[in-house]
Symmetry: C2
Subunit: 163 residues, 2 copies
């Protein structure tokens, strides 16, 4: 089974949310997501005024897949990969920027959000999120069962199967 | 066998080349290509000062494939497709814009070409090229053998097989 390359929790997760929220306010974008390169949503925020977003898991999967697919193109131009990609439709736009090696920042914006601001604050947020992702990788969550539970379970197993 | 959706020849081809050359001069980009959505190169120009380009057929195939792949993403945001995509690497960038329904303008630029100019003149060129592609579709090349050849061939066949 595919698992996320990193997990945000506790204080790191809160910091990522704050950063995404600040970025929404500064850029005027609708939705902000931090995803990993496999397509998992690590954190996301929606602007209060924004309509219901598209399915964010699907969005993350497609963005991550697309980012991976452009690597062949980047290599043809002598680059390892593209750091930043902007897709512009009639009304909606999509800004994708690297947040370190394993994560991507995704901003979905409409025609009211100035692209200059999206790129400026997007780039800044991506740097901050890269730091957060780095910390999360350095200190992965440990799944520890507490002593009481462990002792209780051991006693139960001893009773069941004999010691 | 896959065939190009349109073919540029004669005066239309020359006009496309002129437009690509103007765009290279105005934007400071290295290479300019007009490709169709299947990935065929219809016309291309390289800046005189630019180093040897990457294999343009491969570039066209990857750009067209990528443009098709992003349609799912566009649909998720309520768009039919993205009109404009900018990929930005450490040094090299790629600007892709729709030139009508069947063709794409591709500009490859390095860090010395200001993105604003690339987008401004790129967009203008894409409009011009869309017109050229439209004309080419309206008047596809006809492969006609001239009367003299046809009569000669008929006479020869009559002689060979009897009339």
């Amino acid at each position: 089974m595919v698992e996320p390359s990193l997990v945000l929790y506790g204080a790191l997760y809160e910091r990522a949310l704050d950063l995404l929220e600040d970025t929404l306010r500064e850029t005027g974008a609708r939705y902000a997501l931090l995803i990993d390169r496999k397509g998992f949503v690590l954190a996301h925020k929606e602007a209060l005024w924004a309509p219901k977003p598209p399915p964010l898991d699907s969005l993350a999967t497609l963005v991550a897949g697309n980012a991976a697919a452009t690597q062949a193109l980047a290599k043809l131009l002598g680059e390892v990969r593209f750091q930043e990609v902007v897709h512009q439709g009639e009304r909606m736009g999509l800004y994708v920027d690297e947040a370190g090696e394993h994560a991507l920042l995704v901003l979905v914006f409409d025609e009211d959000a100035p692209l200059g601001k999206v790129k400026l604050y997007g780039k800044r947020a991506a740097k901050g999120l890269a730091g957060i992702a780095q910390e999360a990788l350095a200190h992965p969550p440990k799944l520890t069962l507490d002593t009481e539970y462990r002792e209780g379970a051991n006693a139960l197993l001893d009773e069941l199967f004999g010691n």
